[in-house]
Amino acid sequence: MSSSVQVQVGAWSGGRAMRTTNQTLRIYFNEAKYEFLKLLRLPIYAISTIAFPLMFYVLFGLVLNQRQTVGSISVATYLLASYGAFGVIGASLFGFGVGVATERGQGWLQVKRASPMPPFAYFLAKLIMSSLFSLIVVLLLFTLGAAFGHVRMPLATWAALAGTLVMGALPFGAMGLAIGYFAGPNSAPAVCNVLYLPMAFASGLWVPIEFLPKFMQSIAPFLPPYHFVQLALAQVGAGHSGGQWVHIAALNGFTLLFLVLAAVGYRRDEGKMYG
């Protein structure tokens, strides 16, 4: 009885306590934690993002092309960079694209937006989740490469490659975000696949770009994964042409473009309600 009286007084006193900084930080932490758990328990996401790059790597890097080289480095090393890129792109594109499209289309995002959750926590959680899944894929690939592909590199090179790969969560997360705001919940997985697989192939993620037909080599620079994989390859000494800054600039440009597209979609989405 006394507690209910207290509550009533609280309600009438006007203006309740705001969140403390600690409470706000906890929101960001919990949001990211549950975003990660949510997808870890979703077999279609967890298995396809982690298993496919590993499977391809085992097949093409460890079983079929033993003791072969691309330029001066072994296939096992080369494909570590390219399937690493493939994995990071998949985790980010699907994590953001399918995630946002689904939660937006089915009304869940609206429940979140009606709550006092800081909106940025939602996006940051997805970025952290994509980065974590990317890191998992990369570390598993490294383990396979070192254990079965005889990949030997200085520790600094391993670290530089891992860092470069995980950073890819940013541009491809942005791309996924743009897809998430334009695709519906049912079409988003298809849209992601239609972009992901051909783009990965044409950018030389499956087969080194040198082995692709000339015309494909000429369109590759217009595809974001090309610049990403070139940046990753540069870390292991297999960079293509041009300095790294070209690829960094290109990726920054693509990221900006995707974020602008996502912002347009976000505004359009809000416009349905904020008209």
Partner: protein
């Protein structure tokens, strides 16, 4: 409660204390389609207001505006004197919306923990679980729950922050009768603790059973507001059912009859002067039988109000009443 709703009836009067929600001259269009037209109302602490209307009447639009999910084209909306989009307003508000899908791989406990951390003074998790009737389901993933259990999780997320103002948009859709009664008890308990609740519903019985005040929306316009008793009094008041040889037109012509509807075996007559009409019926029809006079339920009252409103605006398309 009645005092507050009387005050609300005279908008000039100043209510004591704080206003939980203020909806002042609000209009909202989606493109060319008007959803709300110059609607005004207030909600006070400890008051349960029910927003009643057919599909497309503008109930969900009103809730979205109050939650800051949409901005009005005209008018002013405040939650405890703040912009509904501000964090100050949002930490005092909880909402249960109609959602097609909730992330299915998180457990009930995890969903509640996440939403609780958005609020500065959340309820203890145990209290939330109990209030929502989710005991024993804490470790189930959302995807494994039945329809009714899912509704209860959404209710738990709405109340876990111990909000002062709660929006419930068609909360009992898909619940069985028992769950609905339990749910009503929980809502009453919240109101007794001084919380304000805005409930939109298709179930007129629900509004009648819970609301201190009912707002009736029809095609975006507020056509009536008052206590359930007042809403009923606004209409014909009594329903007479009888078997008679008279035609509908003949009955319609009797003074005091506001409407006549054919029933399976006879007529249903809505009137504000039941005694006079019965006397007249007996005088005109010696074969009159099976006479039954009952108070008009809220459902009939609601149908009557919306029908009358639609008849007064015949240029508008005829609305369908969903019950």
């Amino acid at each position: 409660m009645n005092i507050q709703s009387d005050i609300e009836y005279n908008p000039q009067d100043q209510a004591p204390g704080e206003v939980a929600a203020e909806f002042c001259g609000v209009s909202k269009c989606y493109g060319q389609v008007p959803a709300l037209n110059n609607v005004s109302f207030r909600m006070y602490p400890g008051e349960l207001v029910s927003l009643l209307g057919a599909n497309g009447a503008g109930k969900t639009t009103a809730v979205k505006l109050l939650l800051g999910l949409a901005a009005p084209n005209q008018g002013r909306i405040q939650i405890f004197g703040e912009n509904p989009r501000s964090t100050q307003a949002k930490i005092r508000v909880g909402a249960m919306l109609q959602v097609a899908k909730v992330p299915e791989t998180l457990k009930v406990r995890e969903h509640i923990q996440l939403f609780s951390c958005y609020y500065p003074n959340p309820l203890p998790q145990r209290a939330v679980i109990e209030a929502a009737g989710l005991q024993g389901l804490e470790d189930r993933q959302f995807g494994e729950l039945s329809g009714g259990q899912r509704q209860r999780v959404l209710f738990a997320l709405a109340i876990c922050g111990d909000p002062d103002l709660l929006f419930l948009d068609e909360p009992t859709v898909g619940l069985d009768v028992d769950s609905r009664r339990t749910f009503w008890q929980q809502i009453r308990a919240l109101v007794q603790r001084g919380r304000s609740v805005l409930l939109t519903t298709h179930y007129l019985e629900e509004a009648d059973a819970l609301a201190d005040r009912i707002l009736v929306l029809n095609r975006g316009t507020m056509i009536a507001q008052g206590t359930p008793a007042e809403i009923k009094a606004k209409t014909a008041g009594k329903t007479i059912r009888c078997t008679t040889g008279l035609s509908i037109e003949e009955v319609q012509a009797i003074a005091g009859v506001s409407s006549v509807r054919p029933q399976k075996d006879g007529l249903e007559i809505l009137t504000s002067r039941a005694e006079m009409v019965v006397r007249e019926l007996l005088a005109r029809d010696a074969s009159l039988a099976n006479v039954e006079v009952v108070s008009t339920g809220l459902e009939e009252a609601f149908l009557e109000i919306t029908r009358r409103d639609s008849a007064n605006n015949p240029h508008e398309s005829k609305m369908e009443v969903a019950l």
